[in-house]
C-alpha cells in the first residue's frame, strides 16, 4: 500500500510508505556545490559586521548565528567522517553512489519549495549557536566565519575522500541517532543539503535586513 503523507504528519518518519527514487550522490557535483557555497559565503562575509550581527526579528537568528549553527551542526560529524574514511579501503571510484532509502527521503525534504523552507524542526540544543548569542561583536564573528571556512574545507576533503574509497560498509549514527545511519558520502550530502537550506535562509534574512 502506498501512502503519501507529509513528513510532519504525526511526526512520523516513514520512507517505506513513500514511492521515491533513491538519490544518486555525485562526488564532482558535491565539490562544485561546496565551491558555490564558498563563493556565496565570501559575498556574505563582505557585509558590515553590524548587519551580520543583527537579528531580523526577536527570536530569529542573525546571519552570523545562521553561519554558527552550520558550524555547530558540522562539528558532530567531523570525528564520524574521519573515522569512517580512515577505515574505508581505497578504490578508483569517482562515480555516483546511490544513497540509501532513508537518506534519500531526508534529502528530498531539505530543498525549499515555492520559495519557502519546508518541514521546519526545532533545532536541537547541541546545534544552537553558542558564541554569538553571548558575545555579538566583530571579533567573535570573525572566529565563527573562520570556523565555517574550515568546515567547508573539511567537507570538501571528505567528499574527495569518499569518492576514492569504498565507503558503503562503514556506517555511523547521524545527529538524529541510530534511527538514521549514514556512510561517509551520504553524510557529506546531508551536511551539504543542510548548509544549502541555511544559505537559502541566509539570503532571506539578509533581504529582511535590507542588506
Amino acid at each position: 500500500m502506498q501512502i503519501n503523507r507529509p513528513l510532519e504528519h504525526k511526526g512520523e518518519l516513514c520512507p517505506k510508505h513513500h514511492t521515491m527514487a533513491r538519490i544518486h550522490i555525485h562526488p564532482e557535483l558535491q565539490l562544485q556545490r561546496i565551491q558555490d557555497l564558498r563563493q556565496r559565503f565570501e559575498a556574505v562575509a563582505q557585509r558590515p559586521a553590524e548587519t551580520l550581527l543583527r537579528q531580523p526579528a526577536p527570536k530569529k537568528w542573525s546571519p552570523g548565528e545562521i553561519v554558527e549553527h552550520m558550524v555547530e551542526a558540522h562539528k558532530l560529524y567531523i570525528p564520524k567522517l574521519d573515522n569512517a574514511l580512515n577505515a574505508a579501503a581505497p578504490t578508483e571510484r569517482w562515480e555516483a553512489l546511490k544513497a540509501g532509502r532513508m537518506a534519500s527521503f531526508l534529502y528530498k525534504g531539505f530543498a525549499p519549495k515555492d520559495g519557502k523552507v519546508r518541514y521546519k524542526m526545532k533545532t536541537q540544543q547541541v546545534f544552537e549557536p553558542k558564541q554569538l548569542p553571548q558575545v555579538a561583536d566583530a571579533a567573535t564573528l570573525d572566529k565563527v566565519f573562520e570556523a565555517f571556512r574550515a568546515s567547508l574545507e573539511h567537507l570538501a576533503q571528505s567528499a574527495r575522500s569518499s569518492a576514492e574509497k569504498d565507503v558503503a560498509p562503514h556506517r555511523f549514527n547521524s545527529a538524529i541517532g541510530p534511527v538514521v545511519r549514514f556512510n561517509a558520502a551520504e553524510a557529506v550530502e546531508f551536511i551539504l543539503r543542510h548548509n544549502e537550506r541555511h544559505f537559502f535562509q541566509l539570503d532571506q534574512t539578509l533581504k529582511a535586513l535590507g542588506a
Binding site: 555525485h26 557535483l29 565539490l31 565551491q35 555516483a96
Partner: protein, 205 residues
C-alpha cells in the same frame, strides 16, 4: 581551454623538446632563448582516470601534452557530465583561467587515458612575457585562436542540429579523440550517447 587545430604532430614522432617548441612556434624563439625556455619544462604523468585538477583547487600547471587525452568538464544539477573541451598530443592543457588569473577552478580536468605531459608554473609562465620578446606575439595569436574557437563552438551548439554538429566535429576530430569512450564526445556535442551512437551508425561524414 581551447585547442588550436594546427598543433597536431600526429604523424610525426617528436621528442619532448620538439613538441614543446612546436607548441610555441609563434614565439619565434632564437636558439639561445629556446634552450633557456626548454629548461623550464618539467615532466609529469597521470594514470587513466586521474583527476588532475578539481573544482575549487587552484591550477598550478600549464601543460603541453606529450601523449594521452584529457578532458575539462563539470557536472550539471541533473548529475550529467558536461564536457567543455579536450587536450591531446601536442596541445596545451590545464584550467587556463584558474592558472592565469589565480582563481579557483570552476571545472575538473581528468586524464581519460594514461597521460605524459610537461608543465611550467604560473610564476614561470608570467615571466615568459618579460623574458622572451616573442611571447607577446605568441600570446596575441594563441588567445585570438582560443577566442575564435570558443565563438565557433558556441555558434555550433546554439544553431546546428545534432546531426550537423556531429558531422562537423567528426570531420575535424583528431585521431587521439577517436579512441576515448563515446560518452565523452557525446557530452561535448551536447547529445546523449544513444544519439551519438545512432548518428555514428547512420551518417556519413
Amino acid at each position: 581551454m581551447g585547442f588550436p587545430q594546427n598543433l597536431n604532430p600526429a604523424s610525426i614522432k617528436m621528442n619532448t623538446n620538439q613538441t614543446v617548441l612546436h607548441a610555441f612556434a609563434d614565439a619565434n624563439l632564437s636558439s639561445e632563448d629556446a634552450a633557456a625556455f626548454l629548461e623550464l619544462w618539467k615532466p609529469i604523468s597521470f594514470p587513466k582516470g586521474a583527476i588532475m585538477t578539481e573544482v575549487g583547487q587552484y591550477e598550478k600547471r600549464f601543460y603541453v601534452v606529450l601523449s594521452g587525452v584529457q578532458a575539462v568538464y563539470l557536472i550539471n544539477p541533473k548529475g550529467d557530465r558536461v564536457t567543455i573541451g579536450f587536450s591531446f598530443d601536442g596541445s596545451y592543457s590545464g584550467i587556463y583561467d584558474s592558472f592565469a588569473f589565480g582563481t579557483p577552478s570552476a571545472y575538473f580536468l581528468q586524464a581519460l587515458t594514461p597521460s605524459e605531459l610537461v608543465y611550467i608554473t604560473p610564476e614561470e609562465y608570467h615571466a615568459l612575457f618579460d623574458r622572451f620578446p616573442g611571447f607577446d606575439r605568441w600570446g596575441r595569436i594563441v588567445h585570438g585562436q582560443l577566442l575564435m574557437g570558443r565563438v565557433q563552438r558556441e555558434l555550433e551548439l546554439t544553431t546546428l542540429s545534432s546531426e550537423e554538429r556531429f558531422v562537423r566535429f567528426m570531420r575535424r576530430c583528431p585521431e587521439p579523440l577517436r579512441q576515448i569512450p563515446q560518452k565523452w564526445l557525446a557530452s561535448y556535442l551536447n547529445m546523449t550517447p544513444e544519439t551519438f551512437s545512432r548518428l555514428q551508425n547512420s551518417v556519413v561524414w
